[in-house]
Point group: C2
Chain length 574, copies 2
């Protein structure tokens, strides 16, 4: 593929076709997304243990940078629930929430994560994200959703809950539950009920009273904004903040200043593994959202360019004093549904959020934290899913094992331990499987030229011949197993004079496998057994012919297994 500048700056692709119609569509989408993002950004910043305005900052620069570098037309980049939780966990281990050090660490984490993502993109290492398998991700998201919901209960109840895992948090919850503050409970539980009502019933209600589908769905999406406005008015008018209700308080007005944090070796060592995990999890989440939306319009996502775009977004977030961001599911779907056509919608959303930080922040003073907690709880409820666990259990026990390990460790030990152990266990299971190539001893189906597994079919064999169908490419990790199996088969069948390797599914043979085949050949010569091969693919034959293997082979290479069996057997039909 030719490398062009537009591959690195996808904005050049869609920018040149930009029109007034597209602008209008993008602007409407931007307005809707902005309204939705204001409470969401504040809420996720609080979830990460950061001041509310940090969430707004993290929604400005990343959106602009993704507009320039991203390959998805509709992905919306900013603070998301899981990454906020991971940020809180990572920073909580080295700084005290509420301190300057905590905020500075979050900014450094975002920079580090941005650098990792950009490097992975430049070196085309996106494939590393493949190792976060679906069961591990699903388990991790479910467990994180539970942890997030639980962590928000403190705002709903107006009590303090501490601890990084379920056991600690539950213990803390039960010991403090007697101190529940009723104003918080009123606002928090009220918001939850209100949001559930909006989500479950309002749309139909609005349609019944004659509103169009489009307006009805817009009003539903603005639900959290209504909850925010109503509870601000309630708190201010009833002076609930005097009655032990936690409020957001003073939010600095104006745009953030531009400044990159200093990265020293000490920070890189302390935050390195957390930044890498956040990068990978964020990338996997983002790319699957991007691909889902792109496919609906037959557009194409370039994973390595996405890494660069997310990397730039995180570096940008860091530069404005934000924290780690990624492409979010809810915000991107709203953007898509609201009719965004190009990433310019994201850029305009950034302007919307910037205007909010300039003019709206004074109104957020009386915003109860309980309201934001309610919006988070409603948002993460959708993350906790039981059905995939049941499906995975039924489909594959080893995948379920990796999933269960991830869930249990995330809940009861820590978020990082959960995902690392999950990846490690799926990796070990995978490695173990790759060390055992799929193979079958085959015989001829009577009256045909087909060869089938002797264990499953009634086939014709010859005690002097062992035919082995190899169902996978041969390489260093699986060749020794095959070597050992061939030794076993020969040792168990003393009449054997010929081994035929049927290679119809062998796409490649690496140097290790070649050398092992050579030593199998020599050992079989010592045991007076000839080694033959059949149905070797063209590219494999080409490579083998560069070596002396074919000359040294004690037997022959046959075009088909039928031909091989015919030539060597007494039981052949001819």
């Amino acid at each position: 593929m030719k490398k062009t500048l537009s591959q690195f700056l996808p904005i050049l692709n869609w920018g040149k076709e930009y029109s007034k119609e597209i602008f209008v569509a993008d602007a409407i989408a931007a307005l809707i997304v902005t309204v939705m993002l204001i409470p969401q950004s504040l809420a996720y910043a609080l979830l990460a243990g950061l001041p509310a305005e940090v969430g707004l900052y993290a929604s400005i620069a990343p959106l602009i940078l993704y507009t320039i570098f991203g390959t998805s037309r509709t992905l919306s980049v900013g603070p998301v629930a899981i990454i906020s939780l991971m940020t809180a966990t990572a920073i909580g281990a080295i700084a005290e929430p509420g301190t300057i050090g905590y905020l500075e660490t979050a900014i450094a984490l975002s920079l580090l994560s941005g650098i990792f993502l950009t490097l992975m993109g430049l070196f085309r290492l996106g494939f590393i994200a493949n190792f976060l398998s679906h069961p591990v991700m699903a388990g991790f998201i479910t467990a994180s959703g539970l942890l997030i919901a639980l962590s928000q209960l403190k705002h709903i109840l107006g009590i303090s809950i501490s601890g990084h895992n379920l056991t600690e948090q539950l213990a803390s919850l039960f010991s403090n539950i007697g101190m529940t503050q009723y104003p918080a409970l009123l606002i928090g539980a009220g918001s939850i009920i209100f949001l559930l009502f909006i989500r479950n019933s309002l749309e139909n209600l609005l349609k019944k009273i004659g509103l169009s589908d489009y307006v009805a769905s817009l009003l539903v999406k603005a639900g959290p904004v209504f909850a925010v406005m109503i509870t601000i008015i309630l708190t201010a008018s009833l002076s609930l903040d005097q009655k032990n209700l936690d409020i957001v308080g003073m939010v600095p007005q104006g745009l953030p200043s531009l400044q990159l944090p200093e990265l020293n070796m000490d920070i890189v060592i302390k935050l390195g593994s957390a930044a890498l995990l956040i990068s990978l999890v964020g990338f996997v989440e983002s790319i699957s959202v991007a691909q889902t939306l792109a496919a609906k319009r037959r557009q194409h996502i370039n994973p390595n360019q996405e890494l660069i775009a997310l990397g730039m977004s995180n570096i940008g977030s860091s530069a404005v004093g934000g924290y780690p961001v990624t492409g979010g599911f809810a915000r991107s779907v709203v953007n898509f549904d609201a009719g965004a056509v190009t990433p310019a919608a994201g850029g305009m959303t950034a302007i919307g959020i910037a205007l909010a930080t300039l003019f709206l922040t004074p109104f957020l003073y009386y915003l109860p934290k309980a309201t934001l907690a309610a919006t988070i709880i409603i948002a993460v409820m959708g993350l906790v899913k039981i059905q995939p666990m049941i499906d995975t259990w039924r489909y594959s026990k080893s995948d379920f094992f990796a999933m269960a390990v991830t869930i249990l460790l995330t809940l009861f030990l820590s978020v990082e331990a959960g995902i690392i152990t999950g990846v490690a266990s799926s990796f070990i299971l995978f490695m173990y499987k790759t060390t055992k190539p799929h193979y079958a001893v085959v015989g001829r189906v009577d009256g045909t030229e087909h060869f089938r597994n002797i264990k499953r079919h009634n086939v014709i064999t010859d005690p002097r011949i062992i035919s082995i169908r190899i169902d996978e490419s041969l390489y260093f990790s699986n060749i020794r197993y095959l070597e050992n199996e061939i030794n076993k088969l020969v040792a168990a069948q003393p009449e054997c004079e010929h081994i035929i390797l049927m290679c119809s599914a062998v796409n490649s043979i690496d140097s290790s496998a070649l050398e092992s085949l050579e030593s199998i050949n020599h050992r079989l010569i010592d045991a007076n057994v000839k080694l033959h091969m059949s149905e070797v693919k063209g590219p494999v034959t080409d490579k083998l012919s560069k070596t002396t293997f074919m000359d040294d082979l004690s037997g022959q290479i046959f075009l088909s297994q039928y031909e091989a069996f015919n030539a060597l057997s007494n039981n052949s039909p001819t």
Copy 2:
């Protein structure tokens, strides 16, 4: 397979059939191997930086334990060159050669390595050794051979050479070469020439003067013993030890005492990685020798039981004050050629070495270290091979890369860095390859029911149909690539209405791949494209039918690709 006691104690298998004839054969082999092992054991102990007698001790207990636990009939376990070098490197990093601490560390290393091997065997983790690919092992052995030969030059020249890698050692060699001691050079170079003559010319000469092939080959194998005897006599009679010739000196007489070293957490941490590497390298060397010899007699080696046997051998070596051991190539081949029938030959060899420690050690006083260095240099010359490098370069550039990295880092950085980086690089290349499944877009060969790659053959296609033949099993590490490729293909062919996945080579689909197939299906529905599958294997269909995948599939599952193409295409022949 039924587990029987004889699986864990293979001695029970061959022990019950033991006869007088077998005893005589084993005893003769044991005598020959003993004669060969005495100088070899002394030499390798010096290579490891240990007192000479430690080599003898390490040749007693391991042989006895392998006799009980080993599955190879002819493998000979004891000190070998590469493991001795690795031992010297590992211990040299934490203790000073010649000190009690150095010896104690060697003993602890042997115990730790024995424990690792035994655990790997019990937990059936032998497959881990698969990840030491052939190119990495070949590169490592060649580089180690060079380092070993160079390290012995100090004894041949009678000077001191220091440093753990080639650069340091060469610098040290050139700065000290002016201090060459002529007695050492005389004995050392003389021994090398003598040994080369014996190896290259003596056998034919002896046959010419009428000796039988058997006797001639025996005398050749005893070559090092003659060199030892001649140089001892020369040194003693000319008092060369007074003329700056380094001699072995006082070797303690008698059997070693039994005592296991204490292992504390500190030692485990310091030696852990070295012990693991030594275990894996030793195991790979040993198992390939064992398999080569076993195949000649159609016997079978059980890799996991071999791990246990090597583990016990190392624990045994440690208990008698020895150092890490493994199955050696040269010693095992001599044992095999000398006619050993059962592992009892090894047990008798142990008795032979024990007798040597009881009665022969006084005669070793005047043995010049230069003689032992000469035997080592001759032995490791065979390890340095250029041809495999050329072959690997021609066969596979990525395998050659892993090999070159291993060689260069082993030579110029350290033995451990070399093998670790080699394994890591072959692993990364492997992971990278597994993330890209082999696939081909196929079309129908005119006049046949066969489907072939559209890039290689002139085939019939239909712009409304994309047929993709998947050549590998689908799992988490490769499914995202396929997902992306399908997206690309659909985005590039706007007329496309049907995708057919031809699954003839798909042996399994894991949960991640299943979920990705589901989302591919849903995305294609959004893009008005139907997803079909053909030639799905029985076991795969069985598993898929446990899920809702087949019900949700927008298209159909066809028995053959021909049937699928026929049913969907306008270009079908019917």
